[in-house]
């Protein structure tokens, strides 16, 4: 078990390092930030001064080493535009994003999974077909279309809800709905097929045959086994809590991480973009790690497999 955890931890660290390197390479190789920040008409001396101030005059590998060193001491650099700590700028926006993504996650879990499980247990029924059709619709409609259609209906035609901004909780309704519909569809479908797969297994037949009530079979035998694949998807959703709202925040002009990313990318504000990439990747890696460890705990077969090679 310890070996299993260590292997997973090591892989998570390597992944983070890969992301750090990726961010560095892409963002540094793609153009001269001094030119972009200062514009084409500034005198050469100020370009040189800018490069010196931000360490851009050093060779690339030296910048990389300095960058890695800084990351490990918790220094994510300063925003080239606002002259404020990049980490501070990013963390400031996290609550706004979570205000949307957390309720959306809860909606996904508490609507999607029960709907899928119910559909699986009433396979081929009218409800099953209805749920699956709705689910397919839910995840094939892109979030920007869903968002705009909801705005068209609830803000433009009915005038019930605001179409943008972050003043009251009412402003959060449309973005949260927009974000959760796709996830509900995905979870419903996934839970359904996981449940169907499980209920076809011989141990379910055995459990029914030994005289357990159907309710006990479902709760005691089917659901725990179906949980393994469902947890993968949920883990992914938890991991994308921070980054999952780029498009939706843009539609509803919500001042979260996603907006910050789009704006910073437009401004070529390297430090902020790097910081967001790192935080997003870290969130994803940690939740994947937790999912992997949960697997090992839920399903001993995977544990022995993982330490096997």
């Amino acid at each position: 078990m310890i070996r299993f955890v260590l292997v997973r931890l090591f892989r998570a660290l390597v992944t983070i390092l890969a992301v750090v390197t990726f961010a560095f390479v892409v963002l540094r190789m793609s153009g001269d930030p001094a030119q972009v920040m200062l514009g084409p008409d500034v005198p050469l001396e100020s370009v040189v001064a800018f490069r010196k101030a931000w360490g851009l005059d050093q060779p690339l590998w030296a910048q990389y080493v300095a960058y890695i060193k800084a990351i490990f001491t918790g220094d994510f650099g300063t925003s080239m535009r606002d002259k404020a700590s990049a980490l501070h700028l990013v963390l400031e926006r996290v609550p706004a994003t979570l205000q949307l993504t957390l309720p959306a996650l809860l909606l996904k879990l508490f609507v999607g999974i029960p709907a899928g499980v119910y559909a699986a247990l009433h396979r081929q029924s009218f409800t099953d077909r209805g749920v699956m059709l709705a689910a397919v619709f839910g995840f094939t409609i892109p979030s920007f279309v869903m968002g705009l259609v909801l705005v068209l209906i609830f803000s433009v035609i009915l005038r019930w809800l605001p179409s943008g901004g972050q003043d009251t909780w009412v402003h959060g309704i449309l973005p949260t709905l927009t974000m959760s519909i796709g996830g509900i569809g995905i979870l419903a479908r996934f839970s359904r097929s996981a449940m169907i797969e499980v209920t076809g297994q011989p141990y379910i037949r055995t459990a029914s045959a030994k005289g357990l009530k159907w309710r006990e079979v479902v709760w005691g035998h089917a659901l725990p086994n179906a949980a393994v694949p469902i947890i993968t998807i949920v883990g992914f959703m938890v991991g994308s809590l921070i980054a999952g709202a780029v498009v939706v925040e843009s539609i509803f002009s919500w001042p979260g991480i996603g907006r910050l990313l789009v704006v910073s990318v437009g401004n070529r504000d390297l430090a902020v973009v790097q910081c967001i990439l790192l935080i997003v990747a870290a969130a994803m890696v940690v939740s994947n790690l937790v999912v992997d460890l949960l697997y090992g705990w839920l399903d001993p077969r995977l544990r022995s497999q993982a330490s096997g090679h």
């Binding site: 992944t15 279309v145 498009v247 990313l261 990439l277």
Partner: protein, 292 residues
């Protein structure tokens, strides 16, 4: 995982005739999906012939005219450009990008998966680390960073989208190839002296192809959504060229006055991804014995 299906398929006396066979084997929703996809492919292939106007031709006298008119069937946009013509061109661009990207990602993903299965050890770890990396960085975020800093071009967009989902093919191909290696047939051809390339391409690939094709039907609509999302944010396909997401993005400005500019491409995106999902599910049931 080997589930043994004890129930023999009952076969009724089959009726002959193409449509009878079709009706018996293809559910209505899947049939409609196939029909829509065929229509989309025809539209994409003959876009130049089907387009009533040039996509940049402006008709300033009839700006923002509503759909239904004889002159502009789906109305016009803020510059008086014909929405139908732009829609047809958008379908072509979006499908070309999605198709190219799906093939790219399936090819490289499968290749890497097979390499991992063949060489194991360091190569396998490297592939898995790359897959972890891809899974750790949400694709939209990665694309945003790359596109914004390198600028957007059609080629870069296809290549970038080609990275989407490769790790899934890699994982599937690796898993299936390892499993196949343990089975008699692969070992037999190795014993007969076949080269690894021959074993993988002629023997293992045909046996795992159905699962890979099903994965392609899953990634294809996701790539369409990803490309239209990027174009919607203004970082995908650049004007004067147009794509479905791009049209939705610009139509957003006229949501209150001219919703048709945004609704027309939105409906096409929806129906297309919906059709592929329905057809893909049906294919999976038909082709993939491991899922049943």
């Amino acid at each position: 995982m080997a589930a043994i299906d004890l129930s023999e398929p009952t076969s009724a006396a089959p009726k002959s005739g193409f449509f009878a066979v079709l009706r018996r084997n293809v559910p209505l929703t899947v049939g409609l999906g196939l029909f829509w996809l065929a229509a989309m492919i025809i539209v994409a292939a003959f876009a130049d012939q089907l387009r009533p106007y040039n996509i940049t031709a402006m008709d300033l006298s009839s700006r923002l005219s509503a759909p239904g008119g004889l002159k502009h069937l789906l109305g016009t946009d803020e510059l008086g450009r014909d929405v139908l013509s732009r829609l047809i061109q958008s379908i072509r661009i979006s499908l070309v990008i999605a198709f190219g990207a799906t093939l790219l990602s399936a090819f490289f993903g499968t290749l890497l998966g097979f390499l991992a299965a063949q060489f194991r050890g360091t190569v396998e770890h490297l592939v898995l680390v790359l897959a972890d990396f891809q899974a750790a960085l949400p694709f939209l975020i990665m694309s945003l960073a790359v596109l914004a800093f390198f600028g957007s071009s059609m080629l870069l967009l296809v290549c970038l989208m080609g990275f989407y989902g490769w790790e899934r093919y890699a994982r599937i191909a690796r898993g299936l190839a390892i499993a196949a290696g343990a089975q008699g047939y692969a070992a037999a051809v190795v014993q007969l002296g076949a080269t690894p390339a021959r074993v993988y391409l002629r023997h293992i690939l045909p046996n795992v192809a159905s699962t890979l094709i099903v994965s392609m039907t899953l990634t294809f609509p996701e790539i369409i959504l990803m490309e239209s999302g990027l174009s919607f944010l203004g970082l995908g396909v650049q004007p004067p060229e147009t794509s479905l997401g791009n049209m939705v993005g610009f139509g957003r400005e006229y949501l209150t006055r001219a919703p048709w500019i945004m609704l027309a491409p939105a409906i096409v995106i929806m129906l297309t991804t919906l059709s592929i999902s329905l057809v893909g599910d049906w294919l999976r049931d038909k082709l993939d014995p491991t899922i049943r």
